[in-house]
């Protein structure tokens, strides 16, 4: 369990969470990026850019 950097709510991660992974905060819905796994650290995910793929 880690605190959401946006709303402070607690976020539960899967055991296999890895850096770069994007998860949603269950409380505020913010997109969060896992920036460290030991210990788990979350950051607000960067905004979508203008020229996203597909």
């Amino acid at each position: 369990m880690v605190d959401c950097p946006e709303c402070g709510g607690s976020v539960t991660l899967h055991d296999d969470a890895e850096t770069g992974e994007i998860i949603d905060c269950g409380t505020c819905g913010a997109e969060l990026e896992v920036i460290g796994t030991d210990p788990v650290e979350l950051e607000t995910a960067p905004e979508l850019e203008e020229d996203w793929g597909e």
Binding site: E18, T19, G20, E21, E49, D51, W52, E54
Partner: protein, 287 residues
């Protein structure tokens, strides 16, 4: 083998690939494209050691440049820079399909709003105006009338990025409420699904419902030819059914998302992609 995965976000697609690679004891190098430096001559160390690099950058510009650099270091990259270049641009994509004789919707490109207006009036209503770069159906407009056309062209000309000053006009295809998405590896389909929506943009990202789809011989042939037309690789081919005339291929995507396809079908797409990489890499290394 050692597989480099170029990314800036690990979405479910990337996670499925990473897990599949690791479960087969391949070495995985996660390459965060935001932190990589691409020199002209020497690759960054973590890249040089890779047998193959899988480009999973979402941003088209990153994908275009990164694949070029990786390729120039002599490291095999999926998808290759030529494929990325054709697929990243709707105009180049349409040209490649048309040149290969693959049925594709009637399309014209113009560089001013006046000429775009001429095309639109010529095509009749409804027709579709698309940005040449972009994704998930964003900024696409279905144009139903002359007044709508005038407003949209004016907005694009005034507010648009330079890429929006390329006006890409396409006929509106009356499809049976669904379109077909095929993920293919060098032209061989891995899985296919239909996307159905009440909205004219039947995009999985826009909440369409997905069903598995069985490809007939004609569709198989078109997927193979469409893939070849853009240079091959791991691709998403978008087809529509057009009634008596069969299919039309709208576009081929090079940064393909497959989680929806994995959910909609029984196919483990990540596993099939890794199967393909395993056969492809020794061939390229020895070539």
């Amino acid at each position: 083998m050692r597989v480099g995965v170029l990314y800036s976000r690990i979405r479910r697609d990337e996670k499925l690939l990473l897990n599949e690679l690791r479960s087969r004891d391949h070495e995985v190098a996660k390459l965060d494209v935001r932190k990589l430096r691409f020199a002209l001559d020497e690759p960054p160390a973590e890249l040089a050691e890779c047998d193959v690099v899988l480009d999973r950058c979402l941003a088209t510009s990153r994908s275009l440049y990164a694949s070029q650099f990786v390729d120039s270091y002599g490291v095999p990259v999926v998808n290759g820079p030529e494929t990325a270049e054709v697929c990243a641009d709707k105009a180049k994509n349409s040209l490649a399909l048309s040149n290969a004789g693959v049925p594709t919707p009637r399309t014209e490109v113009a560089f001013t709003k006046e000429t775009a207006m001429e095309i639109i009036e010529d095509f009749g209503y409804p027709c579709v105006l698309k940005p040449v770069v972009g994704s998930w159906g964003r900024l696409m407009a279905k144009i139903d009338s002359r007044s709508a056309a005038e407003a949209i062209l004016e907005h694009k000309a005034t507010l648009g990025h330079y890429e929006h000053k390329v006006f890409y006009v396409q006929e509106f295809v009356e499809k049976p409420g669904r379109d077909i998405r095929v993920v293919a590896t060098d032209g061989e389909p891995v899985a296919a699904m239909t996307r159905t929506s009440d909205h004219w943009l039947t995009n999985a990202a826009k909440g369409a419902t997905a069903e598995p789809f069985e490809l007939d011989d004609e569709a198989l042939d078109l997927v193979e030819r469409a893939s070849e037309a853009v240079g091959g690789g791991l691709l998403g081919v978008d087809l529509m059914e057009t009634g008596e005339s069969g299919y039309t291929v709208h576009e081929v995507n090079h940064t393909v998302e497959f989680k929806a396809l994995s959910d909609a079908t029984d196919v483990d797409v990540a596993a099939r992609v890794v199967d393909w990489l395993e056969t492809k890499v020794p061939a390229e290394v020895s070539a």
